[in-house]
C-alpha cells in the first residue's frame, strides 16, 4: 500500500516536473526593448553628414490593418534626427539625381515601422485554476494535431520602429551598406500618446547603448 502510494506520488510528481516560469512581465511596457546591431568593420569617425527622408515607411503582415496615420512621423523623425546631431553628425538635404557624388551625405538614415499581428492559443483546462504550470500558454501556430480540449485563441499586435544607417559608399556585392540598426520593439497596445512615448524612449535608448556612434570631435 505504501509502495503504491509512493509510486503514485512519483508519477504525479513527474507530471508536474516541467519547468515553471512564475511571475514575469505585468505591464505592456515590460515588454519594450531597444535592440541595436552594427557593422564591426565600420569606421564611424569617417562619417560626417547624413540625410533623412521626411516620412516613415510602414509595413504590416495584417491585410486588415487600418492604414496607419502619418501624424506621428514628424515626432519620430525628430527624435532620430536630434540623436544623430547630438552624436556629432550634420544633417544635409537629401541627394537628388543632380547632386554630384562628392557632395553626397556620408550616410542616409531610413526609418520604417512594422506592425504585426501574432496569434497564439492556450488550452483552458479545468485544472488550470489550481496547477500553476498548466495555466501557461505557448506559441504554436503550426501544431499539426487537432486538439481534444477547448482551445482559446488570442491575438496581440507587436510593433517595431527600425532605424538604419546606410552608407552611401558602395559595397562590393551591391547589397545595402547598413552600418547600424536600431530597433524600438514592443506591444502595440494602448493610446497613441502611450505608444509614442514608449517609441521615443526606446529610440533614445538605442542611441544611449551605441557609444561607438559618437564622433570623437563632437564637443567643440
Amino acid at each position: 500500500m505504501k509502495r503504491l502510494l509512493f509510486l503514485l506520488l512519483t508519477g504525479l510528481f513527474a507530471q508536474l516536473m516541467v519547468s515553471c516560469y512564475p511571475e514575469g512581465a505585468d505591464n505592456i511596457e515590460d515588454y519594450d526593448v531597444a535592440i541595436t546591431n552594427y557593422d564591426k568593420s565600420a569606421n564611424f569617425n569617417e562619417l560626417t553628414t547624413f540625410s533623412i527622408p521626411d516620412s516613415v515607411v510602414f509595413f504590416s503582415n495584417d491585410k486588415n490593418a487600418t492604414p496607419p496615420s502619418h501624424a506621428f512621423d514628424a515626432e519620430i523623425l525628430d527624435v532620430v534626427t536630434n540623436n544623430f546631431i547630438a552624436m556629432g553628425y550634420t544633417k544635409v538635404a537629401d541627394p537628388t539625381a543632380e547632386t554630384p557624388v562628392d557632395q553626397f551625405p556620408s550616410f542616409i538614415v531610413t526609418v520604417s515601422a512594422f506592425s504585426n499581428v501574432n496569434y497564439s492559443y492556450f488550452v483552458d483546462n479545468w485544472y488550470n485554476n489550481w496547477d500553476w504550470y498548466w495555466g501557461g500558454w505557448w506559441n504554436g501556430p503550426f501544431n499539426p494535431y487537432y486538439p481534444w480540449y477547448p482551445v482559446s485563441v488570442y491575438s496581440y499586435r507587436t510593433g517595431s520602429v527600425v532605424v538604419e544607417m546606410i552608407s552611401t559608399q558602395q559595397r562590393k556585392d551591391n547589397k545595402a551598406n547598413v552600418l547600424w540598426t536600431g530597433i524600438a520593439d514592443g506591444l502595440l497596445q494602448g493610446s497613441d500618446a502611450f505608444i509614442l512615448r514608449r517609441i521615443k524612449s526606446q529610440l533614445d535608448q538605442c542611441f544611449v547603448q551605441s557609444p561607438y556612434l559618437t564622433k570623437m570631435n563632437a564637443s567643440e
Partner: protein, 205 residues
Amino acid sequence: MKKLFIIAICLFGLSPFLKAQMLNLNYQISLPMNQVKDFTDNASFRGFDLEYHHFLGEHFSVGAVIGWNVYYQDKKHTSGNFTFSGNDNIYTITGNQYRYINTVPMLAVGRYYFTDNTTAVRPFFGVGIGSSWTEKHLEVGQFSSTISRWQFAVAPELGMYIPVNDQFGFNAGVRYNYATKAANGRIPEIQSFTFNIGVIFMSAR
C-alpha cells in the same frame, strides 16, 4: 537514469534486511551561490522534494530523493548581448529581463543516524549522489532563450527527524547542492544551500 534504476533494484533486493521505511515530503527554501547567484540573485521559495529511505539497522539508511526548485529574478532595464539562431550577428538588447532557473535533482542518498530509534530527536548526516536536470531560461521583450542539461550532482546533508509516533514525524535539515557545469558553461555550476522542512510517514516491520 540507468544508475538510479540499478540502485532501486539493489534497494528492493535488500528488503529482507530492512527494519523500517520512511516516506518524506519536504518544503524547501534554497539560497543560490556563485554562478547561480550571478544569474538569479534571489532565494527560491518555490521548492520541494520527495524522499524515500529504507533503514538498514538503526543507524543507517539508504534511499532516493527527487526535488524541484525554481529560482526567479526580474532584472529591470538591463542590457545584454545576444545572438539569434541562424546567424552570428550580435544584437545588444535592452529591456526587462526575466530570468528563471529550474532544477530537478535526483539523488541516491545514504545516511548515518547518530542515535538509535529510542531518542526523541534523531540527527543524521547523509550524502546524495546522482543527477540533476537544470534549465536556464531568459525572457526579454518578445524573445526568450532556453537551455537545459543533465548534470552530475553531489549533495551532503545534515538534519534531524523528530518521530511523533510509529507512523508519523517531522523532518528538518540543510543540504548543500553541487552540480557540475554543462554545455560549455552555459549551464552554470550549481551551488546552493537548501533548507528542508517537512513531514515523514513511516512504517516499521
